[in-house]
């Protein structure tokens, strides 16, 4: 993304294409909270388009509000998040729809059908009609680039935020992009007072709602004649298929003899175009990933379609599922092998493993939420009992403590990561103090936003751009909230960590233990001297293996440490009662 535009094709992921489109489209400000599959958009902007003011926000609501503020001055803005992030940003989104904007503002919702790394698979096209905001959905990287730029133009033309809805297979798949000439915007940025537009007192909001309804009508007219809703006509085709997003690619792959109406703008839908298309074909199908969104609209219009929503509501679509939807025989395959699945686990050397080992020893129930520590739920540790959404663990523990008798209450702890705590744990902790909860909260401070790829946040001391930032002192935050018991320990000092957790639980009232130890993948040491198990001293008790460390492997009936995986975290060394584990150096 140099100053000189190079008119040549590039092989880009959907996320990279959005970043390029933002740069070429004249975006000035970008704000986001990391969330798979959206994270690389801002990372790519930071790396390749440093002219854009890009930053990580503590959460998606802040990101959208910051973006909104900038857009109110006439700046062009991009805000990105995963699908559940839109739930957090929903409050500003719904009323931004009423205020409209001055500069173009595009919100990327990166959905995750099939839940490759999410807690649900909500279909965020539904936010369009609900928030009354147009939704564009690209089917590959070229469209991701084009729709990013189009979104900015539409946003300004129609005075509305625009949602760019993507899915994992568009975000993380690479395909060819032919970029076009970047815009050259000559703008003066000012914030002009306009209370009727920006101050949503009921009287003003009512007037804006009327404007929103008119806008939706105008957008629907625009949708009727836009090229991004396109009829791929196959001569003599008896079947017409209406589809959107990456599902379009699967349909093209599997049903080359059908005509296709590919919808690029999911809201408002082009009712006339849909009706016209349906009249041209003997049978009309809808293929869409997750909810029958287009289908329900067609049913409202009274269009007769071969309806199969139950075949698409769950899980991500694949070319082979398209075969099933159309009643085509499944491809004859040899039997799949029975190799056991290999899900992701906590890395060797992960500080969370040390904490969960202690919690397991104390036979506690653990309320948690979203982060690498969610993997503490997996065997053999299996030390996570709730995980619903960001920041929830603290509130689950608090809610339970309102009802459970003391001996049960004292068996519960909440765990939360540092980034998640800043995102939405602080208010839960405030509630705990304010409403007198008797709960223990462990802040697993591994100094990064780990699960999404180790991004910075307000507690790490660095910004997205790598510049120094004030380092949010979590212990001070807890004290300022009024938590009477706040201690910071290293997860690697097992004895001290266990003792402190016991103290915190015994304490009557809110208690916080900050387990402060960096993610093993940041500042990776080049030379690691692994640990080794002395087979003569080893009694095969399995205590080391029960931590679930991937470096500890049972080979020929004995436990061995794989020197290529071992990160010398010393957890197993501390746990071994028989002194059978030591540094290979010793």
């Amino acid at each position: 993304m140099n100053k000189e535009f190079q008119n040549k094709p590039l092989l880009l992921s959907g996320n990279e294409a959005v970043a390029l489109g933002a740069s070429h489209g004249g975006v000035n400000v970008a704000s986001a909270y990391p969330g798979t599959p959206s994270t690389e958009i801002l990372e790519t902007i930071a790396r390749r388009a440093p002219e854009i003011n890009a930053e990580w926000a503590p959460n998606e609501k802040v990101a959208l509000e910051v973006g909104m503020g900038a857009a109110f001055t006439g700046a062009r803005v991009l805000v990105t998040m995963k699908h559940v992030g839109v739930n957090v940003a929903a409050d500003p989104l719904f009323t931004l729809s009423y205020t409209g904007t001055k500069g173009g503002i595009v919100l990327v919702s990166a959905d995750d059908p099939g839940m490759h790394s999410s807690q649900n698979e909500q279909d965020n096209r539904n936010y369009g009609p609900f928030a009354k905001v147009p939704v564009l959905e690209p089917a590959d990287s070229q469209e991701a680039y084009d729709f990013m730029r189009l979104g900015l133009d539409l946003s300004e033309q129609f005075d509305t935020p625009v949602i760019l809805r993507m899915t994992t297979r568009v975000c993380h798949s690479k395909s060819i992009v032919h970029p076009t000439k970047p815009v050259s915007l000559e703008r003066e940025y000012t914030f002009e007072s306009d209370q009727k537009k920006y101050v949503m007192l009921p009287a003003y909001a009512r007037a804006r709602h009327a404007i929103v309804e008119k806008r939706t009508k105008k957008l629907r007219e625009w949708a009727e004649s836009t090229k991004i809703n396109h009829h791929y006509k196959v001569e003599g085709a008896k079947i017409g298929i209406i589809t959107s997003g990456v599902a379009f690619q699967y349909v093209r792959e599997i049903m080359p003899h059908a005509s296709i109406l590919k919808i690029g703008m999911l809201h408002p839908l082009p009712s006339k175009m849909l009706t016209d298309f349906a009249t041209q074909y003997k049978t009309v199908y809808v293929v869409e990933e997750l909810e029958p969104f287009i289908e329900n609209h067609l049913l409202q219009l009274g269009i007769d379609i071969k309806s199969k929503p139950e075949l698409m509501r769950q899980g991500e679509l694949t070319p082979d599922r398209i075969r099933t939807i159309f009643g085509l025989p499944a491809t004859q395959l040899p039997d799949a092998s029975t190799v056991p699945p290999r899900p992701p686990v906590l890395c060797p050397g992960c500080p969370h493993r040390a904490v969960f080992t202690i919690l397991k020893k104390l036979k506690l129930k653990v309320m948690g939420d979203i982060g690498c520590y969610t993997l503490g739920a997996l065997p053999p540790l299996q030390m996570l009992d709730t995980c619903v959404c960001m920041g929830a663990g603290i509130n689950h523990a608090m809610g339970m403590s309102k009802i459970l008798p003391k001996e049960q209450r004292k068996k519960n702890v909440a765990v939360i990561g540092d980034s998640t705590f800043v995102h939405s744990g602080i208010t839960g902790l405030i509630n705990m103090v304010y409403n007198g909860g008797d709960c223990t909260v462990l802040i697993l401070d591994n100094r990064t936003t780990a699960m999404t790829g180790r991004q910075d946040h307000p507690g790490t001391g660095k910004t997205l751009m790598g510049t120094d930032a004030p380092n949010l002192d979590l212990a001070q935050v807890c004290r300022a909230i009024g938590v009477p018991f706040v201690k910071t320990v290293s997860p690697w000092s097992l004895e001290h960590s266990e003792e402190t957790i016991r103290e915190a639980i015994a304490f009557d009232g809110p208690a916080v233990v900050i387990e402060k130890g960096p993610c093993i993948l940041i500042n990776r040491k080049k030379e690691i001297i692994p640990f080794k198990i002395d087979t003569n001293a080893c009694k095969n008790c399995g205590a080391c293996a029960r931590t679930g460390c991937p470096a500890i492997e049972p080979i020929d009936g004995a436990y061995k440490i794989n020197p290529e995986k071992c990160r010398a975290c010393e957890l197993c060394y501390q746990l071994c009662k028989f002194g059978a584990i030591a540094s290979a150096d010793a």
Partner: protein
């Protein structure tokens, strides 16, 4: 070129084996050769010891970024379990390329290039020319490792 049938390559392995680097180079080589290319993968599992798969499809025109079952032409497997897990997706007559003892030996002096050597071997089942592979390696690997990666690639490509 516009008529070229679509060729499907599936790269599988576990974290740390360089599966995604191989997939990058392969996709780039196809792109440099003028094919339409689509590549898909899931991010985030390799760091945490999970299975890693990446699909590369190239030809005159590619639609789906995912390979339909039973249409994998070349399965490049870096881990025996992952290779087994995906074997049933091969087209009849599809080939499986895995690291060999000779490759491992040849790469001892070329640290962390075994994955590229395996790709070199796989390249014999693919239509891209030397120049495209060379360019792709140059673009996709850390600059100070271009030399050893090209060497490793040649070792695999020339292995009988």
């Amino acid at each position: 070129m516009l008529d070229a049938p679509v060729k499907n390559v599936l790269c599988v392995g576990i974290g740390g084996q360089g599966v995604l680097t191989v997939s990058e180079v392969l996709a780039q080589a196809a792109f440099e050769s003028g094919y339409d290319v689509k590549k898909s993968e899931i991010h985030g599992m390799s760091q945490r010891g999970g299975s890693v798969t990446s699909a590369i499809r190239f030809g005159g025109k590619v639609h789906a970024p995912l390979i339909p079952e039973g249409e994998v032409d070349v399965l490049i497997g870096f881990d025996p379990n992952e290779t087994e897990r995906n074997r049933h997706l091969l087209r009849p007559g599809g080939v499986v390329i895995e690291p060999t003892a000779d490759m491992v030996k040849a790469c001892l002096n070329l640290p962390r290039t075994l994955n590229i050597a395996v790709l070199g071997k796989a390249s014999n089942s693919l239509p891209m020319r030397d120049e495209a592979w060379d360019k792709a390696i140059e673009i996709c690997v850390p600059p100070h490792t271009i030399g050893i990666n090209r060497q490793a690639f040649r070792t695999g490509r020339e292995e009988l």
